[in-house]
């Protein structure tokens, strides 16, 4: 029905903070590390509750990844916290060798991903993190869309055995996922069934996709709407089935087009079900300073852009 009630507004990082605290209460092996960004990562509550299970590493992200890998060897489940660029590009080789290739049960939790961190500008606005982490064999990559989904994802990865990259953001965004919606790693959430066009969205773009879908449905265009919270392993089945039904696909993400969700969907389609595709994302450009809203508009990540992509791709159908 595309009738998602907005129950509030909050930042996804607060969903992480709440999930981490809860995970810490449920499992004494959950520990947390932070690289001088406790407040930004919303790790304060965990630190206050479990000071002895919290490790401050200062501004030394490479070391943080190694220490986290080592903590797993004593049976701990470490959650690392820093901004998304310092969680990935700064420490890629460390994650690759000491965590992914070594199969360590580390949860890499990354805030301030994408353009929406706003005024800090391009050095902080990583738009390549999902691509980097998805190339790593054995890595699970999750990009939830609101506070509730982020909290649920945080709890789910605490119970999951293996390295995980969890990506979330800085600004307050609408809360629309029901608090009791189950979070199943690797399983797309089919938000709405339709037959004219498939919209596949992740992270902050899911709400934009909902808005776009509402507009399309109002015009009589039937939308199949898929929330890909888990980018790796990708739910190829759900995507290919939907593409086969609609014959036209749109992807939407707060990430570079090269290497992002769109590229993975393009691969899946080309191999299994060649289908016209239009992608919404950042087109080979760095970000810049501005308010989150200004940036989403300037870089073409608004619901209007998803809507326009849907119209374009429908026109591409034979």
């Amino acid at each position: 029905m595309l009738n998602f009630e907005i129950t509030g507004s909050n930042d996804t990082r607060s969903g992480f903070g709440a999930g981490l605290l809860e995970a810490g209460k449920r499992n004494p092996n959950v520990v947390a590390l932070c690289a001088d960004l406790i407040g930004s990562l919303k790790m304060d509550a965990f630190l206050k509750e479990f000071p002895e299970r919290f490790f401050q590493v200062g501004i030394a992200e490479a070391n943080m990844m190694g220490v986290a890998a080592g903590l797993t060897i004593g049976g701990k489940i470490p959650f690392t916290g820093t901004f998304a660029n310092f969680s990935t590009g700064r420490v890629y080789d460390q994650i690759r060798q000491s965590i992914a290739y070594s199969g360590k049960n580390v949860k890499i939790c990354a805030s301030h991903a994408g353009l929406t961190l706003g005024e800090d500008g391009a050095t902080h606005q990583i738009l390549e993190d999902v691509g980097m982490m998805s190339m790593l064999p054995g890595m699970t990559v999750i990009n939830p869309c609101d506070y509730n989904q982020t909290k649920a994802a945080t709890l789910a990865i605490a119970d999951f055995e293996g390295p995980v990259y969890l990506r979330f953001g800085r600004p307050k965004v609408p809360i629309f996922v029901p608090a009791d919606e189950p979070f199943v790693i690797g399983k797309a959430w089919h938000m709405h069934h339709g037959k004219d066009v498939t919209i596949i969205a992740t992270g902050h773009l899911v709400w934009k996709a909902v808005e776009a879908a509402q507009q399309l449905e109002a015009e009589g265009i039937s939308v199949d709407l898929i929330n890909i919270h888990t980018i790796k392993p990708l739910d190829v089945d759900a995507i290919v089935k939907s593409a086969a039904q609609t014959g036209a696909v749109v992807t939407a993400e707060e990430h570079q087009l090269i290497g992002g969700l769109g590229s993975m969907v393009a691969q899946a389609l080309a191999v299994h079900q060649p289908t016209p595709l239009q992608m919404v994302g950042v087109n080979d450009s760095f970000g810049e300073s501005g308010t989150p809203e200004q940036l989403m508009k300037k870089y073409g990540l608004e619901s209007q852009d998803v809507y326009a992509a849907a119209k374009r791709v429908i026109a591409m159908k034979k």
């Binding site: 932070c34 501004i59 030394a60 005024e119 800090d120 300073s289």
Partner: protein, 321 residues
């Protein structure tokens, strides 16, 4: 062509400009004898006056966009003013990326961009009015300094901590290759020193005897999560840098006379086969009483009342932008 367009500033303070002989002494670089330099040295009081204005700029800039980093900026204001209005041999009105024949400055702790932007504007790199665009969409004054928008005075992007020393060392080595006797300056946060790349660079500088660099660490004892001592203790910083083969100086960073003395002394130590590190003690938030000595204002902007309070503590010496 004047090396520093600051005659008007001196006039403001009603002090007779003095010719800096020391500036001439560095001008033996052949290619540059052409643009011989009329370097205007300012008195300590003049510089302190400029610093007051820069501090006003800083709090006004971060207030206007409700974001940015006032704490470290205020603490490092005296250093920046001394550097740009007295120490550097530079060309604000003919910015050249390569900076042949000029001293260069690299800000490694890019988050304190407000103080740098203010000093760059006030020393003539770009119009002071542009400070009003700080962190706004389409600005050249990005949240963290960048070359990407072509702002004069910036030679590399920073913001991700720990990278600036390496870049400065490359620039210093290029100067040596080019036979350019100018000096390269860098500034770093004390928290930033926790990054491993800093120590890679430290080792490299000593090994290659890069003695045309003067680095400074803003030892304000604070970082985002609290006092450096609690977050990740730096231990004996002097011993660390000495063990890495650097000549280490210390300097009180919130006393203009001391800063001038410290930087001039450091300059006298260049060319002796060792890189130079100044450990500069500052108070975060210096000049605005309620911001001083706490990490609380590392990256938080004042509200309207706080701005008024802050401005009440800072004299408008050169005119607000």
């Amino acid at each position: 062509m004047a090396l520093c367009r600051s005659t008007w500033l001196s006039t403001l303070f009603n002090k007779a400009p003095t010719i800096a002989a020391s500036a001439f002494s560095r001008c033996n670089f052949a290619a540059l004898i052409a643009f011989s330099c009329l370097y205007i040295m300012k008195s300590t009081e003049e510089l302190s006056g400029i610093a007051q204005q820069v501090r006003r700029d800083i709090v006004r800039m971060v207030h206007a966009v409700n974001s940015g980093h006032p704490g470290g900026s205020l603490g490092c204001t005296d250093y920046f003013v001394a550097l740009y209005f007295h120490i550097l041999n530079h060309r604000p009105d003919g910015f050249d990326m390569n900076g042949h024949g000029e001293d260069l400055f690299f800000l490694s702790n890019g988050h304190i961009s407000p103080v740098w932007y203010s000093v760059l504007a006030r020393s003539g790199y770009f119009p002071v009015s542009e400070l009003a665009t700080f962190r706004k969409l389409d600005t050249r004054l990005q949240g963290h300094p960048t070359t990407h928008e072509g702002l004069p005075g910036i030679r590399v992007a920073s913001g991700s901590l720990g990278q600036g020393l390496s870049v400065a060392l490359g620039a210093a080595q290029a100067k040596k290759l080019n036979g350019d006797p100018s000096i390269v300056y860098t500034l770093h946060g004390d928290g930033e020193i926790q990054e491993g790349q800093i120590w890679e660079a430290a080792m490299y500088a000593a090994h290659h005897k890069i003695d045309n660099i003067i680095s400074t660490i803003d030892v304000n004892g604070q970082q985002i999560d609290g006092p450096t001592e609690k977050v990740m203790s730096l231990g004996n910083l002097r011993a660390k840098w000495e063990a890495f083969g650097w000549t280490v100086c210390e300097m009180e960073g919130n006393d203009m006379a001391e800063v001038l003395k410290g930087l001039t002394h450091a300059k006298s130590l260049t060319g002796q086969g060792k890189p130079i590190m100044i450990l500069m003690t500052t108070s975060m938030g210096k000049g605005v009483d309620f911001m001083e000595g706490t990490p609380k204002w590392h990256g938080v902007a004042p509200n309207d009342a706080e701005l008024a309070n802050a401005l009440g503590q800072l004299t408008e010496t050169l005119g607000d932008y």
